[in-house]
Symmetry: C2
Subunit: 198 residues, 2 copies
């Protein structure tokens, strides 16, 4: 059980254990030279982590942090490895999860390859809607407790620019910001906005 903002693991205190996210949201990030957060991804269950450390010993410094209250289950590395090596089905499932991560990261790359901040923001919102969205009466609520700051970090633009561009979307009624969650009134219209401002 981890509280909001608590670091679940980072390389300094990592002993090889395998974590399963059971509830809550986490963010995965590294640090830039200036100490700025470089966010790789947000996740909800199910998730096995830290994949790179479990399967090969990358030295890359990565932090796994709880965004809100999160619960995780922990297994010893040897137990996990022994289990999947003797259970093809579980290994295949694990592989599929890794492939899913890969797809996420490809979407992240797509995202960052947008030259301008406005389409970059829209694309990000659409991806988040697909991954964390709950549809209700035509609207889609992105059920991820994300701050503008985190959003800015994932887009690699500044907080200020994010704020300005979000404002534009809200004024165009293509986005709402309710209870600290983003709500997309009409996905189709937002997709159209992306194409027109590519």
């Amino acid at each position: 059980m981890f509280k909001k903002g608590q670091i679940i693991l980072h390389i300094d205190n990592y002993n090889g254990d395998v974590f399963y996210l059971e509830s809550g949201f986490i963010k995965i990030y590294g640090l830039g030279i200036n100490g700025d957060e470089r966010i790789y991804a947000f996740h909800k269950p199910p998730l096995i982590f830290p994949i790179s450390y479990i399967f090969n010993s990358t030295k890359k410094e990565i932090f796994y942090e709880a965004i809100n209250i999160a619960t995780v289950r922990v297994a010893k590395n040897e137990e996990f490895m022994h289990f999947i090596k003797n259970n093809t089905h579980a290994l295949l499932e694990t592989t599929l999860e890794v492939v899913e991560l890969l797809n996420n990261y490809m979407a992240r790359i797509d995202n960052l390859e947008f030259g301008k901040s406005y389409p970059r923001l829209i694309f990000r919102l659409l991806v988040l809607a697909k991954r964390f969205g709950i549809a209700k009466g035509g609207e889609v609520t992105i059920e991820l407790p994300i701050t503008h700051k985190d959003l800015a970090n994932t887009l690699s633009i500044t907080r200020e620019t994010t704020s300005r561009e979000v404002e534009v979307l809200i004024k165009k009624k293509l986005l709402k910001w309710q209870n600290r969650l983003f709500v997309i009134p009409n996905i189709k219209k937002l997709e159209k906005e992306l194409e027109e401002n590519y």
Copy 2:
């Protein structure tokens, strides 16, 4: 056997086969709305592809193109799946390869999160040096036949800007451009340049 510039596979002609890259270099990319290339990665052997299609049926349009003469071996999807499902060792090896791809993509994200083009270029060169570099007499040659245009596409900056920034590095004697290959005379100095221009 594929010639330079030849498309090895894209979604329209894909039938589920599993490809192994045996020799040569390939680039993996998608297309932006304007038809611009969005490069995900460059690869040399060994490589199994297309991972996302093999393990789950993503509809994402991806192209695999030979950069120079490349040879690939092809297996039927069912054969491959049958093989790895009955050979834990092979499945584990495959998983490790996917994890390696994941690490590559994380580095790509790191890369694109640099706000300015100059450090972004330097970081990219350092990553390429790690993946494709051959050390010889203190120098490291990036043995990947990459054009400025491709480099620009992976960095999501324009050809022109790439050209200008490469010029800066060459004038500072931190980089050489020989026989269409990049050569880094001194990795440490280049790393230092990155830190100073973060």
